[in-house]
């Protein structure tokens, strides 16, 4: 990966991202009728985000123990219905504090 390829990737992703938002907005006024397709598209972001998270999260927080602790805090707060910024900030604070303590 070179910087030029990164720039091309950013532009390609931007174009794709806008197309996904704009095409339905411009063209499709009706709902998709196929329930399995609706269910599939609806679940897709969550299943992909889940796969992106586990196991990568365990090496994300500057070491295994701080990462695991941060992940546990994030799960607990998300289950308790806390908001996105709260969950993100608490997990990061946990990982930073624990890795500072362990080092």
């Amino acid at each position: 990966m070179t910087h030029a390829r990164l720039a091309a990737l950013v532009l390609a992703v931007s174009a794709a991202s806008f197309a996904f938002r704009f095409i339905p907005m411009a063209l499709m006024r009706r709902k998709i009728r196929n329930e399995r397709l609706v269910a599939f598209i609806g679940m897709l972001p969550y299943s992909i985000l889940a796969a992106m998270t586990v196991p990568a999260v365990f090496s994300s927080g500057g070491g295994r123990a701080p990462s695991a602790a941060g992940f546990a805090v994030a799960l607990a707060l998300a289950l308790a219905g806390r908001s996105l910024p709260t969950v993100a900030a608490a997990a990061a604070a946990t990982a930073v504090a624990l890795s500072a303590f362990l080092n």
Binding site: V10, V13, S17, P24, M25, L44, A50, P85
Partner: protein
């Protein structure tokens, strides 16, 4: 935040006032986005991304998950970093949901919305903005959506720049653990959706199990990380879409919608 707007119609209100109303309602999103994009800049710095990539990403594409995928998956320190095609496909798969969200938002817009209005509305599509917009008790106007967009977009871009400045001041020892915020953001998006729908929970668990199984393969046959994630996510969602029966013969019933509603909420109606 829902309490600030009484259930009134906005037809008599001037566009500028409606825009301001959107701007005020966007404040929690603005703050939340600012925090998340700050940490994404920290991840980008840790992965040795050039200084321009974060601001360019934030300006050109308003999507936290693909911004996160790009800075998370591409690591200039490592020769074995994810490649162009892998990350592009991952972002495409992550962005698919915006098509559904755009449809949800489109159905709340005035019927005669112009092309310019639809372009602005399309640019505004994120989990959080659509969640706030479709939950408003009044008919949406483009001025209101524009207000939501302006505040949120400002927060996201400001956070990206602040993160660049912040990470150049903080020692790497403090910056590295911030990378977990990205995954915590994913947790905060996935957990409410998985709680609201058993089918989604099943897809989430299956995707994680598949991804762990693929990660355990010997290096010689192991697909690249990004491919494993995509494969696991797409297969799990497809399997659960087919394994669970469609919600009865009564197509007009609220069943498909009851599966869909958790999504906007999942994004965080209270960011």
């Amino acid at each position: 935040m829902a309490s600030s707007s009484p259930a009134t119609r906005l037809e008599g209100e001037k566009a500028a006032a409606t825009f301001r109303r959107g701007l005020v309602d966007s404040l929690p999103i603005c703050i939340g986005y600012c925090a998340v994009s700050f940490t994404l800049s920290a991840v980008a710095a840790a992965h040795r991304h050039p200084f321009w990539s974060g601001p360019l990403l934030a300006l050109a594409q308003f999507s936290g998950t693909s911004h996160g995928a790009i800075v998370g998956k591409i690591d200039f320190r490592s020769a074995a970093t994810a490649g162009f095609g892998e990350v592009f496909l991952l972002c495409v798969a992550l962005n698919l949901r915006y098509a559904l969200m755009a449809m949800a938002l489109a159905q709340k817009l005035p019927a005669g919305a112009s092309l310019r209005d639809r372009i602005l509305a399309a640019m505004s599509v994120t989990d959080e903005i659509v969640a706030v917009a479709v939950s408003r008790p009044f008919a949406l106007t483009i001025a209101y959506v524009g207000g939501l967009f302006a505040g949120s977009f400002l927060g996201w871009n400001a956070g990206t720049w602040l993160g660049l400045a912040g990470t150049s001041l903080l020692p790497p020892r403090f910056v590295a653990p911030l990378g977990i915020a990205l995954y915590a953001m994913f947790v905060a998006i996935v957990v409410p959706a998985a709680r609201a729908s058993r089918r989604t929970l099943c897809a989430v668990v299956l995707a994680i199990a598949m991804n762990l199984a693929l990660a355990a393969l010997p290096d010689a046959v192991k697909p690249p990380d990004g491919v494993s994630m995509l494969l696991s996510g797409v297969t799990a969602a497809a399997a659960c879409a087919f394994a669970f029966p469609p919600k009865g013969a009564g197509r007009e019933s609220a069943a498909p919608d009851s599966e869909k509603h958790p999504e906007p909420k999942g994004g965080g109606a209270r960011p």
